[in-house]
Amino acid sequence: MILLAPLAALVAVLVAVSAWDLVRGRGLRRLALRNVVRRPVEALLVVAGASLGTAIITSAFVVGDTFDASVRDIGRTELGPVDEQVLVQDVADLDRAVAAVDAGSLPGTDGVLAAITAPAAVVAPAPAGGDPRAEPRARVGEVDLAAARDFGGDRAATGLAGAGPTPTAGEAVVNDRLAGELDLAAGDTIDVHAYGRRLPLQVRTIVPRVGLGGAADVFVAPGTLADLAAGATAGEPPIGAVLVSNTGGVFDGAAGSDAVAAELEARLAGIGAVEVVTAKQDVLDAAARSGTELRTLFSSLGTFSALVGVLLLVNLFVMLAEERKSELGVMRAVGLRRSRLVRLFGLEGGLYSVAAALLGTVLGIAVGQAVVAATSSIIADEGDLTFVFAVRPASLVAGGLIGLTISLVTVWGTSLRIARLHVIRAIRDLPDPPAARLTLRRAVAATVGVLAGTALARVGVAGDAGPLVIAGPAVALFSALPLVARLVPRRLAVAGVALLSGGWAVVAADAVPAAFESGTYDIFVVQGLVLVAAGVALVTQADRVWAWVSDRLAERGGLSARLALAYPLARRGRTGLLLAMFSLVVFTLALLSAISTSDSARAPQLTAEASGGWDLWVDSSPTGPVTAAQIAAVEGVEQVSPMVSGVADLTTPAEPEPTAWTVTGIEPSMLDRGAPALSDRDDRFASDHDAFAAVAAGPGVAITTEDLLQGDGPPGDAAVAVGDTVTVTDPVSGERVPLEIIGVTDEDWTGHGLLAARSIVEDVLGARATESRHLVAVDGGADAESVAHRITADHVTSGADARTFAGEVADEMGESRAFMRLLQGYLGLGLVIGTAGLGVVMVRAVRERRRQVGVLRALGFPARVVRRAFLLEAGFVALQGIVIGLALGLVTAWQILDSDAFGEPIPLRVPWLELAVLMAAPALAAAGAAVTPAAQAARIRPAAALRTAD
């Protein structure tokens, strides 16, 4: 948004000039408007083509807004008026904590509420002829509903307005999420399973999952959880919480969270195991992060499509100028100043741009909706995030403004170029001579470009900015072209510059690895642009090769093919623009396809690395977990290795603030069937197995993933490395133990967090470390998925959730592939622009060559030869673009896969069939775009065409 002000200023200046000309410049207005309506269908195509760029940019904002709003909505659905939570690990301390918090009014707050919660499995009786329905991971809570309704002063925000009085023994109030999953209605009975006991309850009321209604799935009578837990020998005890509502609404109350949290910390200083969590603020921060990340992802990738739109505009305006060359020359001859010519084109293009920006903004909302719907279906199984479609007016303004700016800058830049026409050559419709001479101006511009590119590269290397490291040398090299062309033939100079720029874009990450560690999307975008520019420059210099092809074709009687090649080869600049349009689209499609396929092919390897020889793992309710013996008794189970897990406060050198994180304790039996793979380990250990054995057996060491204590996204500087020390602290007892990291894994498929010896975890967490996780191996002939299903079904009351390693990896890969498909679809919008562009270009080509077609027809060329020539020309351009994009996409995919972007180098697997299908799309689109123009060309009557000219 920082860029918006200068963008707005630039747009304002350009629009002001055109507006002035529109209102006051009668002559310019008349000419511009007549040009607009001269060919209304083509004007509409120009607007449509240009609008897609705006649509893509706007859609990126819409997607960001929606994710932002959706995650923010968690604040509404699960927190409502709650801004801070004081977690009280020992429920016995809850009353003291409430008293301490509420002693005297807490500044900036308007409500304090006590609550007790515990995890449990909830089972609804089987309907006639069906299976029982179960939710193994529900949350049961106790809260004073009367007080809760008035908590924060907004009954609707609490979600409990219609909850009625606090449940009595045997009653339950359930939220609509659980009711939906178990198909419950008021009056139904449910069983709550926790601490090895079953508690039958009758559903009295169903409340919306909003605010406090989302804080627990089942509200029960006070004392229920204590009764259930009483006498239990295992299981995570209930936890207390003091909920605090800040003054202000559901979302704006979070603004005062830091001050309230500080005051809470001070007031609770004397009370044992309490933790103050700025819950609302954390959710809103996460929302902003995820929104920004997705907005960045889609807008970065959308850059490709937007650039295709820019190329289309440039191409169209160059063709417009070419078509009107004679009349422009005459206008200049009769006294129209160059500046007014620029303004004339600026005004005409401005009208297209404004219309395109408006249309594109509306289209962007639709595209955004489609992306959100697709993403929603991809991550539907993930559960928690409910999509709330949202569009902020500021986003629409930003999207429209960026699109308008791109169009206007393109239009005015092209207009400046067009206005530099030579009057006599324009009037006589003679081609411009090649600009062979190195003028002082060109030399200065080239020198400035070289210096600027060099400076960019230096800044990039110094600041570890990958995009600049790639772009800087490319800018310098291409800028140096006029200078180099003085020393060597121009063809050689262009080829050399293209090869050097493209080659550097491929190897830069290996040469300056520090600059590419951040892995931002901008790197991918800049790399793609430089590669495509280099590829197109290289191919357009290969006209000798094509001339040879042309001659061979002519020898075989391919008259159409010869004509089809002649025009694109003769107009390299224009052909280059078209090639770049297709290459950019195909590059992105091929790259994503190759990466996705290569990544997916790793599934068996990843499964083997993650499983350590086990087939599945079982998580169960910490308040009443399934035992190893119970699992071993299930048909098909061969061996079980138990693990303990719990939540502790962890600190690392990079994250000194304690963060609640899962800690898992392992036994030596875990290594009976092998060991999971490590991406890095301490040199003291000869193998991954040895490192795991040391963890299982010995004190003081642990294994984890490098993103320990990190949120979404790459860990960057906060990555945990071998040799670091992680301190594990029990938030209740304060017991702590430092552990040295001796091994790091790439992925945490099972959510084990920090792996340490079972004895260590039990020593630190005591009873809060529950044996709620088991690794399971199945009999040789048994199907792991079937066994997992049996374990889950047999032990639903223990909240058992069994998953196979192979299935989990496959699901993850499937989601990843589906997201890649979504991105491909999104980038495929560029294909729409490219196709529209090619169509318009071909229509204009027919008009431009009308006289030539007339001559050919007069000479005896059949209509079918003319038609075929136009079709082949479009196909030739598209084919070149496809080949360039495909080759560069695969090279870049190989380079990315060969780097450590995925943790370790991955062999490139080329999905030939998929690529063939993907490449057929642009080829068919190109052919489709040329059908009508080609038919028009074939219908040209020689006399009519020649009369136009003579």
Binding site: G557, L559, A566, L859, G860, L946
Partner: protein, 254 residues
């Protein structure tokens, strides 16, 4: 001298909005093989339309045009195109070379379209360019040639397939007098070898240089005969038919 072209009662009307412009109003004309017919007349009186209709480039509204005994306007477009490729050559005032092809490639087009294999086509094109004095410019594109050179390439293109009739519409209109004379010499040479030449011109000297002059006015042929006998050409003139001037502007802007 056998008749190569025979036109009877040819009419052509252009419809422009509410107005009909009668460009040709019942033209009768016979042209013998090997003739050099020059067509003259005021601008917009139907000269180019006559050429286009007689050559089959444009459709006619009434009448008949036989070329080599074939009623060309009865032919479907494809056959008429093939007939044109085999029997006719064209030279235009604006040269009308294909700008993205070299001089040699332009000249070989009529050969390739009539099915001559590429290698002999290239040899014949190069030889033809040699005949018009442009052997050393064969690889140049039109933009790299002068106006006179371009028109010589256009003449080479028109003659290379040895057509029975060459239609030339103001072939010297864009050239200086010296270059025009050279171009005219080339056309005369072709005519001298037996090719029929129909040449539309405004230039009296060129008009007088043919074996026969046809004067067109208001869509009708008003003189058809020896150039020396035509009005304005040193003779008294001999009307070829009567009729009112209706076709003014028939060529303009079409």
């Amino acid at each position: 001298m056998s008749t190569i072209l025979s036109a009877r009662a040819v009419t052509k009307t252009y419809r422009t909005g509410a107005h009909d412009v009668h460009a040709l109003r019942g033209v009768d004309l016979d042209i013998g093989g090997g003739e050099m017919v020059t067509v003259m007349g005021p601008s917009g009186n139907g000269k180019t339309t006559l050429l286009n209709c007689l050559s089959g480039l444009d459709d006619i509204d009434g009448g008949r045009v036989h070329v080599d005994g074939v009623d060309i306007h009865r032919l479907p477009d494809g056959e008429r195109t093939s007939h044109r490729a085999a029997r006719m050559g064209f030279v235009f005032q604006a040269f009308n070379l294909v700008p993205v092809l070299s001089a040699c490639e332009n000249v070989e087009l009529p050969l390739l379209v009539t099915g001559v294999r590429p290698r002999p086509a290239r040899q014949r094109a190069e030889a033809m360019l040699g005949r018009v004095g442009l052997a050393d410019r064969a690889r140049h594109r039109p933009a790299e040639l002068s106006g006179g050179e371009q028109q010589r390439v256009a003449i080479a293109r028109a003659l290379v397939a040895e057509p029975a009739i060459v239609w030339a519409d103001e072939p010297t209109g864009n050239l200086d007098s010296h270059t025009a004379a050279a171009v005219l010499d080339l056309l005369r040479e072709a005519n001298a070898t037996g090719q029929t030449l129909v040449l539309v011109t405004h230039d009296r000297a060129i008009g007088a240089s043919g074996t026969r002059l046809v004067q067109v006015q208001d869509g009708r042929i008003v003189y058809d005969g020896d150039p020396r006998g035509a009005a304005g050409m040193g003779g008294a003139g001999r009307p070829a038919g009567a009729g009112a001037a209706v076709g003014v502007g028939a060529e303009a802007g079409r």
